[in-house]
């Protein structure tokens, strides 16, 4: 199906949006191609479950399509869309969607290797791999609020102003909340290190 779509990779986001508004629904596929990985990763960070992230991202795309008339076509689509993803994901976790703390040892959604094995990049040394696993474990211990704002900043690469718009809080609150989330992550990492057996 994807191969039947014309190549629109050279068009700007604004040109794609104008095509979509003109009835070229397929042009939306190119916008999706440009944003879906970041969107999925952001949603996955916030919701912690593949199934929830999948629902969130698909819902967000449908919402974005319906709201395209409110999108300023002279701006990049990605940040605008990621705010929709994050709002949808936050609503989902606030509504108490079924989710469990993500286990690093659980298999991937499609039965693939667990995260603790997938991070094992053979090009990295052992210490770097351990550090990445520790960071993931520490991230998994954070509260929804801290994890969400870190995800918006780290995975979404959103500015403070965009995060403020997403969360409907002042920029100053974003600054302090993000600092508390990072402190919590550092504290969790400290505990993670403290729980490690002493090295010989």
């Amino acid at each position: 199906m994807a191969s039947e779509r014309p190549d629109r990779s050279t068009l700007s986001d604004g040109e794609l949006v104008r095509l979509i508004r003109g009835g070229e629904v397929d042009a939306f596929a190119e916008l999706m191609r440009r944003t879906q990985r970041a969107a999925y990763r952001l949603a996955r960070r916030i919701t912690r479950r593949h199934e929830d992230a999948d629902d969130v991202v698909q819902d967000a795309y449908v919402k974005a399509y319906k709201a395209l008339d409110r999108f300023a076509a002279d701006k990049p689509f990605g940040p605008w869309f990621l705010t929709i993803v994050s709002r949808t994901a936050l609503t989902r976790i606030r509504d108490g969607a079924r989710r469990a703390a993500e286990s690093l040892d659980a298999p991937g959604y499609d039965g693939s290797a667990p995260l603790s094995e997938r991070v094992a990049d053979p090009t990295q040394d052992a210490a770097a791999l351990e550090q990445r696993i520790r960071v993931e474990r520490a991230m998994a211990t954070l509260s929804d609020e801290h994890r969400a704002i870190l995800a918006l900043r780290v995975e979404g690469d959103l500015s403070y102003a965009q995060i403020a718009e997403t969360l409907d809080v002042p920029v100053g609150t974003v600054m302090s909340r993000l600092a508390r989330a990072r402190e919590a992550l550092l504290a969790a990492l400290g505990e993670e290190r403290a729980m490690e057996p002493p090295r010989s």
Binding site: A29, V119, R132, Y160, M175, A179, R182
Partner: protein, 421 residues
């Protein structure tokens, strides 16, 4: 020399500096401190390293997953877009939806524009989405109710009018309509069919309504509606062979209103088959047990769902592929979560009138989705599930696989919910 304690910036300021969120003097001030303060530099650099690790978390989804997601989202959008195009009614919904999917080089852009909107105008805003399906569905239901009311009023003699004979050429009809008789008597004696409503025939604008009503056999029956409902209940309780026999008998009665000069024998049977799936009597009884979404689907039935048959169409197959579902529901192959995720898409697909020959397959899936959510203690919900199964069965006369699965699942469900098989 007195030691002056170092005033470190707050973590908020340090992280904001690292994130590039500070400007002007504030940024220069923090920068000067970080350059000279090892602990603050370590904090900033350490946080950068941690976030770099977070960003490098490997995905457990790949390109194939994203491709499937794209197809799924476009299918959702396309169905909804088709719905909006249908609502404009300019060139027919299916054609409009098809046009929207074609690449720009195939169709001149201006032809796909709505004539009343200049999309390039500054500040252009598309109109808010209007629930056209609700309007169309409500209109169809209102038309059906109106016809029923008119028929009842005529039967009770409240609207006495001497109809003119209708030149359909049918011998039974010619005998039935006797000029000079009262409307009440004519209605009692008249054969089924709108031939006894000359006004409707005379008004070209009502032809479509007349054609639709002509397919609704029980409405044209002289039996009271309560008896029709009872007959349907008996039919539902009787099983497939008797149910089909009742429906076909009713359809054959309907087909007798045609004359040999109008339609051939094959057309009679085709009309009979088309007439039986959507009786108004059932629509009325449906209204009592349907919940809102199901009622909307019911109105889509009346709007022209076709008897299923033949291989699945590509749009239907693509929709199911996007959700990882087989063309025909199979309890051994369908996961409950996947089923519920697909439900809305299937409902939109059906309501947009695109199901056509896939109608039975879609209705079977909707039955299963309703079943998955229904509380067995909620009799209205159980009735709604059974209704969906009956719809699937009625639409699946030319699709033995769907028919067999729907009958099997209906039987199992009735046993589960303690109803008579």
């Amino acid at each position: 020399m007195k030691h002056v304690p170092v005033q470190h910036p707050s973590n908020e300021e340090l992280f904001a500096y690292r994130d590039g969120e500070l400007a002007g003097d504030k940024r220069l001030l923090i920068e000067a401190h970080v350059v000279s303060c090892q602990s603050c530099r370590e904090l900033v650099d350490g946080m950068s390293a941690i976030e770099s690790d977070l960003k490098r978390r490997p995905d457990d989804v790949g390109d194939e997953y994203y491709a499937r997601m794209t197809d799924s989202v476009l299918a959702k959008i396309d169905v909804k877009h088709g719905a909006k195009a249908l609502a404009t009614g300019a060139a027919g919904g299916a054609k409009a939806a098809e046009g929207a999917r074609r690449p720009a080089e195939d169709v001149p852009r201006i032809e796909r524009r709505r004539p009343d909107v200049d999309l390039d105008a500054e500040g252009e805003r598309r109109r808010p989405i209007f629930p056209w399906f609700g309007v169309v569905g409500t209109g169809a239901a209102a038309a059906a109710v109106l016809v029923v009311v008119v028929m009842l009023a005529q039967r009770q003699g409240e609207w006495v009018r001497a109809p003119r004979p209708v030149a359909t050429g049918g011998p039974e009809e010619e005998q039935a309509v006797v000029p000079g008789d009262s409307g009440f008597g004519e209605r009692e004696n008249a054969p089924p069919g709108l031939g006894t409503q000359p006004e409707a025939k005379e008004k070209a604008g009502l032809d479509d309504l007349a054609r639709e009503a002509k397919n609704q056999a029980p409405l044209q029956s002289t039996a009271p509606l309560e008896k029709q409902d009872e007959a349907l209940r008996q039919e539902r309780a009787a099983g497939v062979s008797e149910g089909d026999a009742v429906a076909m008998k009713r359809a054959k009665n309907e087909s007798q209103t045609f004359t040999e000069g109008e339609v051939g024998a094959d057309k009679k049977m085709a009309a009979a088959k088309d007439a039986s799936p959507a009786p108004v009597g059932e629509a009325l009884s449906d209204a009592r047990v349907q919940q809102a979404p199901s009622a909307a689907v019911g109105s889509a039935d009346a709007a022209g769902a076709k008897v299923a048959g033949g291989p699945p169409t590509e749009p239907y197959a693509a929709l199911l592929r996007a959700h990882g579902l087989p063309p025909v529901f199979d309890p051994a192959r369908v996961d409950r979560d996947a089923l519920l995720r697909a439900e809305n898409d299937l409902r939109y697909f059906y309501m947009s009138g695109r199901a056509e020959t896939d109608s039975a397959r879609v209705r079977l899936y909707l039955a299963e989705a309703a079943r998955a959510k229904a509380d067995p203690a909620d009799s209205a919900a159980v009735e709604a599930v059974i209704h969906h199964y009956w719809r699937a069965i009625r639409l699946s006369r030319q699709d033995p696989a769907v028919s067999a699965m729907a009958w099997r699942r209906l039987g199992e469900y009735k046993l589960e919910t303690g109803r008579a098989p």
